[in-house]
Symmetry: C2
């Protein structure tokens, strides 16, 4: 039994979920997977190019479609994916869901862990595919789409394993009635709501997709994965691994289907609106996110746009802080939903262990650190990665016209390995606190705004207002003052925004660790869901209790 085979993994994950201390089932370092894995992955990725992707176990396609372009080579990948009629996808999902709903949750957890182990075999293929669709560096592609995504998926499996076994499936209820009693035989069943649809994005096609996929599956729901048409390959490989593993173990591969579409004929709206679809997980822009949240009769989990802030009050070692922040804003060219955008700095500058550093000096140091990093021959290219698409590039390069003072222009940066790569330095603008029209928007990509405030209280007020009105996934704060720290925590937490204090060295505000950090709180406009709190699981099924008179 797969349950027994993986019991240890599942038990560890359940424990980690509760304790929230460090835990990882899938090592994040590529070397943990053997010396040859990297080279093999490049090879098998290259063998996928220029062909129809035939690894899926789905049948009945109405055509083939593919339009991916590498942000590094700017060449078309040439991979095409089968396209299916929406009614056909739902019919197969519903059919597959019928028997899946009856599979005990422990058995579901067993086979789902087995599918994760199968995905592991493709980590390097997925990493290369992620790199050449999203523009992430190889290392981020490997970690985010490989071990980190699998850990987040396992987190959902473990939460479901725990929640669905919360009550005894059968019991005898006996109510004393004087000298006699009434006995009822009761059953409690978690009935799945499904089918589910998971809508992916172009920057984190696996990491943002697998949690919803595994949350649907562990709660007994079939799932249809609708990737972004510009970032299909990484998740197509993962879905094909899931399907193969399901089939090998006697389960219907249609429990997890891929529904690729094309920019000419996007299907997300029609798919989400289909009356049989009951669960929707969505990552992407706020306009469509708000639309799916408003659909009646659907249970919806979203991660949308937000405006992340950094509040600078006082520090011990300003250089260490600036280095940390320069990396945070440069990492994958600000295309992370957790990347900081708005830096609130008091006009009187920052208190440090070596005295007050004036505002302009802080800004100058920050600029220099960013310039130094992005032009660093060893660090620059790997940190920035490439920009996923032309509109992000254009927005970043046009940002200098937004207003305020241009501190750093987003000029092109050379990537030695890929001379065609879409890379530019971050644009840094200094604006006043009155320029809300500039800094209240998410400027996705490498655009950083430094906002001069009256003082830290003013910084907190503005950062809170942004999070409350426009959403925030993270907030970084630097202070050596306990009362400022308490105030920042209280105010930002009150708008359901987590705060990372005083990070320096090899840990950044952008990082959320599976089994410990909740990703998105679900409480502000940046999204209504959270990886992986109870809601992310318990809203996908309904407890139904039957009773029978026990004779």
């Amino acid at each position: 039994m797969l349950v027994n085979k993986h019991q240890n993994i599942i038990d560890n994950a359940v424990k980690a979920n509760h304790e929230r201390t460090f835990y990882s089932q899938y090592p994040e370092h590529p070397k943990a997977y053997g010396e040859e894995a990297h080279a093999k992955g490049v090879q098998s990725y290259q063998q996928l190019l220029g062909k129809p992707f035939k690894q899926l176990l789905q049948t009945g396609e109405t055509g083939w479609s593919g339009e991916e372009v590498s942000p590094y080579t700017r060449e078309v990948l040439g991979v095409t994916y089968p396209v299916f009629a929406i009614g056909d996808l739902l019919k197969k999902a519903t059919e597959a869901g019928k028997s899946w709903a009856k599979v005990p949750v422990a058995e579901r957890a067993g086979i789902l862990t087995e599918t994760l182990e199968r995905i592991k075999d493709y980590f390097f293929d997925i990493a290369n595919a992620t790199m050449h669709t999203t523009g992430q560096s190889f290392m981020m592609s490997f970690q985010a789409s490989g071990p980190h995504a699998n850990d987040r998926a396992l987190e959902a499996v473990a939460t479901g394993y725990h929640e669905l076994q919360r009550y005894p499936p059968t019991l005898t209820w006996e109510k004393p009635m004087g000298k006699t009693s009434i006995k009822l035989y009761k059953t409690f069943k978690p009935i799945p709501k499904g089918p589910g649809v998971v809508i992916g994005c172009s920057t984190f096609p696996v990491w943002n997709t697998l949690p919803g996929v595994y949350a649907d599956l562990i709660t007994g729901n079939p799932v249809i994965v609708k990737p972004h048409p510009k970032a299909v390959l990484p998740i197509a490989i993962a879905v094909s691994a899931i399907q193969q593993s399901l089939q090998d173990n006697g389960y219907d591969p249609n429990l997890c289907q891929l529904a690729a579409d094309s920019s000419d004929h996007l299907i997300a709206k029609e798919l989400c609106g289909h009356p049989d679809v009951k669960l929707i997980d969505y990552t992407g822009g706020s306009a469509f996110g708000n639309y799916v949240e408003s659909l009646p009769g659907k249970t919806v989990f979203t991660e949308k746009a937000g405006v992340n802030s950094v509040i600078l009050d006082s520090v011990t070692d300003l250089d260490a802080v600036i280095q940390n922040l320069a990396f945070s804003v440069s990492l994958y060219s600000g295309q992370m939903c957790t990347a900081p955008q708005n830096f609130f700095i008091p006009e009187q500058g920052i208190k440090t262990a070596n005295g007050q550093v004036p505002f302009n000096d802080v800004v100058q140091k920050f600029k220099e650190a960013v310039v130094g990093l992005v032009n660093h021959p060893k660090m620059g290219a790997g940190t920035l990665g490439a920009i996923q698409n032309d509109s992000t590039l254009t927005r970043a390069q046009e940002a200098r016209h937004l207003g305020g003072k241009v501190i750093l222009e987003g000029t092109p940066v050379v990537n030695e390995e890929f001379s065609n790569a879409r890379v530019c330095a971050p644009t840094i603008l200094e604006v006043t606190s009155a320029d809300t029209a500039i800094y209240e928007k998410e400027l996705f990509g490498p655009v950083i705004l430094i906002i001069k405030t009256r003082d830290t209280a003013h910084s907190i007020q503005l950062a809170k207002q942004m999070a409350s009105k426009y959403g925030a996934i993270t907030c970084g704060a630097y202070t050596t003052d306990p009362s400022a720290k308490e105030k920042i925590a209280e105010e930002m937490n009150s708008v359901f925004t987590p705060v990372s204090f005083n990070l320096t060295g090899f840990i950044w505000v952008n990082q959320h660790a599976a089994f410990s950090d909740f990703h998105v709180t679900g409480g502000n406009p940046a999204g209504n869901a959270s990886f992986t709190n109870q809601e992310f699981i318990v809203k996908r099924f309904v407890w139904v209790g039957n009773r029978e008179l026990a004779e």
Copy 2:
């Protein structure tokens, strides 16, 4: 500390919630509260009549209002309640909520249990008030508004106590990095979403209100109770007990405020629409329920209308079954949200241990059992209670014109104790399966529809369709055939409707026991919430985690 004082109660409740075996903190038999309690309760209830209700600890009222009429005496109670400006209620709630949010959950559980113990002192006052506002019999008034309501409230407290302490509040996270490691100090806080509003109904003013009140409070939210203007007194007494207990123990009584209104000037819409209101619990008709569910930016918990079915297939002892069902439909004149309305009986009749009983004979037996019960000198009045309002009475008495064949007319029934009581026998109609226009509606009150079907498969199909389209809170089923039983369970559960099988004797489909039976599943149009599953608690707060670099 109140936590320590009540630790045992809380621990027992948490355990019961998980095990779902029989448990009750508050005995349901009036005699458990002493021989004199009943008489004293009548007396103190009578002392409340004809006066302003001054027991609340709220100030700043803009006027007084009251319009309750006893369904038994048809006399005006003459109690008036203070009326407050909505902005004032919210301001006080928000203020009270600030410090409450910081009270540790264990301490909250302690004081909330203390408030329940204080309510217990008023069980008999509340019982008389419930009787003379809802029309419930004394016994039902006592049980539903007293011990059963308190048990449901404690259930919410216990679920919150468990959920909010699910994660360690502080911990050190240490990620190995080769020979070194990164250490973060982390905190996890459940941040309340509040303030909350709980909108009550006229038939179960306490039972349907306390779960939302205590769910809001245990999760750190202040709450405003908006009762139905025709059933204020029972919950006003409970709220005043809560306020007194809060104040006696050093907490702000405005954590739980009463917001009475009048039929001339209903405030539910304005109150729910207030931007500061974040949580809404609602019991009542579907039109307003659907409206509150659609409000953006609010977390909403509803119990709305539904159509409950009984599927009759085969029985051992038909008389025992018929007696049980006659009581179920007569109890409180069908004014329970759990009362069965639609009886699906196959045209070929019912198989029994003594052979097949023809359809017409089953109907005749059912009619006779109902007539026998409602006219029974000892049983009748106490079972029927009184009809809460004139429109329910009119609907019940006009039901004979709905169509189909009139089996029993809803003629007046005499209540010996209260000659003016609003009482009538249930109307029983026999209709065909084609008469969906008649039986697809909730006919709240004493109206029973017997639907002649082709066979049990047809009965299941129709009952399922009703539950799916119009909602259902309960389903009763009688079958001695294991395969029919499995099919009924599977089909009704698939539309998130629980099934009670083969109930006879002193247990009825109408009854849902705290700590064991979920009340409403939340999965079909009868309501989106459930007393008390995880969702009922975890949607009222947001987990927010802060991190700090540990030196």
